[in-house]
């Protein structure tokens, strides 16, 4: 290896450290949750320690001393924590979060240029202060009857866990098992899971054996249950369980009486749990989590994009071939043409599978984004002296990785906004008869080809009167204007509107909800707002699952061709011109006892009206969330897969257009942004977007 690491090595470093930092973030949130209960899961703590430890080692190899120093300090702190030498509290967790923040910035900086650095000294000093200041005392070692062969292989941490278990008066047991060499990791994982129901697995030691095809393990278990109970619960005859050291809780102590009661109560539950493990084994996926560790491949998102583009181009080529086949058939209906069509259909099926496969790879659960929000809630609420719980649901909902990335800023803004403007101070909440601690719900769910993300709070809500006054003051509406609920919400989403006079340090920054709405629209999504004064506000975001390849309805209107994402199309109708009614200068049609507003693309895009066709016309009924609208078309040209390409930054101001697509015959058409068009149309501002 040369002295200077290759750029490939640096890329690997960046990828792995980012992964470690993400995991650390998630784990720290969990650790923080444990402060209130005063309990921290040793396994969790150890996982965090290992994360910092790995970072230190990795950064050291690349000579990134700032990262390795900081990680080293973190590691020291965590080591003291897991060895019980420092107490877990809010300050400590906050310092750890800050350390991860700084590490993340450092790693990102190194990604740009390797010389990048930041001042870590203040944070290092704070960690030093915690390390020097508080001490929870050292655990006293007492080796008891633990065989030397076991003691000699325990790391310092495992020794500490052993002592902790002894200190708590738990029994120490040795479980021995022998497994086949080909399946031992799965079998061991199952056994470990079952043992964890009984207590803490302190260490797993592979044993020396002379049989080539089998391997033996000794597992050190700390448990409050006795040997007979554990044997009965495990109910396996392939194990040897022995008691190494009996717990020291005396029979006379009341604590014992209490704990054995709990024991009795817990027993049936335990058995159920053990049964669950059994079930998992039957289905054969018991060891899956273990295996996946080494079966994951990290892939650059650009590479996935490239792959997706190629798939997209292939889909277009297939379309072209299919069309040629059709045309050939009308010219010469031979056996050859039939075979060509069969082959095309086969190609189509395979391409479908390929497309689905590549699409699936891009999908990631939204959990990481949500966890990030947990941190923001914690920080912003803390800074403002507000108490907030975040209620997360549907975190396993999957979305395209790129959408998730672009969703981060808008979502962060919405949440900051909710805490900043919506949530009241604890005193105010109590005075209003609300619980002191506010709740922000962050729920995700999949609805067909869309994902809906709802952010709702139980804060003070939006006061329509205040919004009206502000709007009048800013000259956005006339003083005499009557405003409906929808009008009020639209005002809030209007550029330049803010109900707060001073720009808040947090959510202010001159960025309003209008920007959030535009960001969501850029993802072909739609944002809706609802609020009750005194009850809270809810914002719901509807997004397509993926942006890469979509099925589209191709329409012709006024001599121009457009694509409408099929996701949003509910139905198409053919109508006589007489069906159109006009209400307050807006065109509507009657559809199943309700009125459907019509949208003419020549109005929207200010096309010459002379091209309007006077006869029968088509209406494409589109819907997003609960809203409906009809788009007028002269012709429906059919369905097609299209790859949406962005119009680029220079054209990003164009509203109503989601992007451009290639139809496969060198013809480029515009893809309509249904969410954006609908927002405009329903506000009645559709006379033209470009006045």
């Amino acid at each position: 290896m040369s002295d200077k690491p290759s750029s490939q090595a640096i890329r690997e470093f960046l990828g792995e450290t980012e992964e470690i930092l993400e995991k650390l973030n998630l784990d720290l949130v969990l650790l923080g949750d444990g402060i209130e209960s005063g309990e921290s899961d040793p396994e969790l703590l150890n996982s965090i320690f290992r994360g910092a430890h790995s970072l230190k080692g990795l950064a050291g190899m690349f000579g990134f001393t700032d990262i390795s120093d900081l990680a080293h300090h973190m590691e020291n702190l965590l080591d003291r924590l897991r060895l019980g030498k420092v107490i877990l509290d809010g300050i400590l967790v906050e310092v750890l979060f800050e350390a991860i923040d700084l590490l993340t910035r450092l790693v990102q900086g190194k990604g740009e240029t390797e010389d990048f650095t930041l001042d870590t000294a203040p944070l290092l000093d704070r960690i030093e202060a915690i390390l020097g200041g508080r001490s929870a005392g050292t655990a006293t070692p007492g080796e008891g009857k633990i065989p030397q062969e076991i003691l000699s292989v325990l790391t310092e941490y495992e020794e500490h866990r052993l002592q902790e278990n002894l200190r708590k008066g738990r029994n120490l047991l040795r479980v021995q098992a022998t497994f086949s060499l080909t399946t031992f990791d799965q079998e061991l994982a199952e056994l470990t899971e079952a043992l964890k129901q009984q207590g803490e697995v302190i260490s797993t030691l592979p044993c020396v054996g002379d049989i080539a095809e089998r391997i033996a393990f000794q597992i050190l278990l700390g448990s409050a249950s006795d040997l007979a109970t554990i044997s009965a619960a495990l109910n396996r005859d392939d194990l040897r369980i022995e008691l190494l050291s009996a717990g020291q809780v005396s029979v006379a102590s009341p604590a014992k009486g209490l704990s054995s009661d709990i024991e009795l109560l817990a027993e049936p539950l335990r058995e159920e749990l053990a049964g669950g493990v059994e079930g998992a084994r039957d289905s054969g996926d018991g060891g899956a989590s273990l295996r996946s560790i080494s079966r994951t491949v990290r892939v650059d998102i650009d590479k996935l994009d490239q792959l997706m583009n190629i798939v997209g181009e292939l889909v277009l080529s297939k379309g072209a071939i299919a069309e040629l086949g059709q045309r050939l058939r009308s010219v010469a209906d031979s056996e050859l043409v039939g075979n060509l069509q069969k082959a095309t259909r086969m190609l189509e099926r395979r391409l479908d599978e390929l497309q689905k496969g590549v699409m699936e790879v891009r999908m990631v659960p939204i959990v990481q984004l949500f966890e990030k929000m947990t941190r923001i809630v914690r920080r912003v609420a803390g800074e403002q002296g507000k108490k907030v719980t975040l209620d997360i649901r549907g975190a396993d909902t999957e979305l395209d990785k790129l959408i998730i990335e672009d969703l981060s800023d808008p979502l962060m803004h919405i949440i900051r906004n909710a805490i900043d403007h919506g949530i009241e101070l604890p005193e105010e909440r109590l005075a209003n008869g609300k619980p002191e601690k506010a709740t922000i719900c962050l729920w995700a769910s999949q609805k067909g080809n869309h994902v809906v993300i709802e952010v709702s709070d139980d804060g003070r809500g939006i006061d329509p009167e205040m919004v009206r006054r502000k709007a009048v003051q800013k000259g956005l509406v006339a003083a005499s204007a009557e405003l409906s609920r929808e009008d009020v919400y639209d005002l809030i989403l209007t550029p330049g509107f803010s109900t707060r006079d001073e720009v808040s340090e947090l959510s202010g920054r001159g960025v309003g909800l209008d920007v959030v709405r535009n960001n969501i629209a850029a993802l072909s999504g739609m944002l809706e707002l609802d609020s009750d004064v005194g009850q809270g506000t809810s914002i719901s975001i509807t997004l397509p699952i993926t942006l890469a390849i979509i099925k589209a309805l191709i329409i012709e209107s006024c001599g121009r061709t457009y694509a409408i994402p099929i996701n949003s199309v509910l139905e198409t109708l053919m109508l006589e011109p007489g069906a159109i009614r006009s209400i307050e200068k807006r065109e509507m049609i009657e559809l199943r006892q309700s009125t459907l507003p019509l949208l003419r693309l020549d109005d929207v895009f200010r096309l010459p009206q002379a091209t309007r066709n006077g006869g029968k016309f088509f209406t494409v009924v589109v819907g997003l969330a609960e809203k409906r609208m009809g788009i007028v078309a002269d012709q429906l040209l059919g369905q097609q897969d299209v790859v949406i390409k962005s119009l680029g930054n220079t054209l990003s101001f164009v509203r109503g257009i989601a992007g451009a697509a290639d139809l496969g015959n060198q013809q480029t058409i515009l893809v309509l942004d249904v969410g954006g068009l609908m927002g405009e149309a329903l506000r009645g501002e559709v006379i033209s977007l470009y006045n």
Binding site: M1, R50, V153
Partner: protein, 126 residues
């Protein structure tokens, strides 16, 4: 025939750094294990000439792997190095007393690892 080296290390970046350090030295076959379990699985299958292991691994720790190898008549004579991030002095002492042949601290110097490999496996004909 090229000598075979097993690297047990949970960090992929660290694995490839170690692997490239070895590759720069000559023609070796490198077998990678992402955790202790994989190492246990590989050992009886491949005739390994040298084991390089980390201490902090998720399933079984490096010390346990050292103990397993050094107490097993099949592998006892196989040289074994520990490469671990500077940890507690006790972990290091334990590693050596369990029979590890060398202990390197991360960030390790490539030259030092190469020197150790040459000492234990002999110089490769290049």
């Amino acid at each position: 025939m090229a000598k075979k080296i097993l690297i047990a290390e949970d960090s992929p970046t660290m694995r490839s750094l170690i692997a490239s350090t070895i590759a720069a030295l000559g023609d070796f076959i490198i077998v990678e294990a992402a955790n202790g379990f994989e190492a246990l699985r590989i050992l009886p299958r491949e005739k390994v000439d040298l084991v390089i292991t980390d201490i902090n691994m998720p399933d079984i720790n490096g010390l346990e792997l050292v103990s397993f190898i050094k107490n097993n008549p099949h592998y006892r004579t196989t040289p074994l190095f520990i490469i671990s991030t500077e940890g507690s002095e006790r972990d290091r002492a334990k590693g050596i007393s369990l029979g590890a042949d060398a202990y390197l601290v991360k960030p390790f110097e490539p030259g030092k690892l190469q020197e150790l490999i040459e000492r234990f496996l002999g110089k490769e004909d290049r």
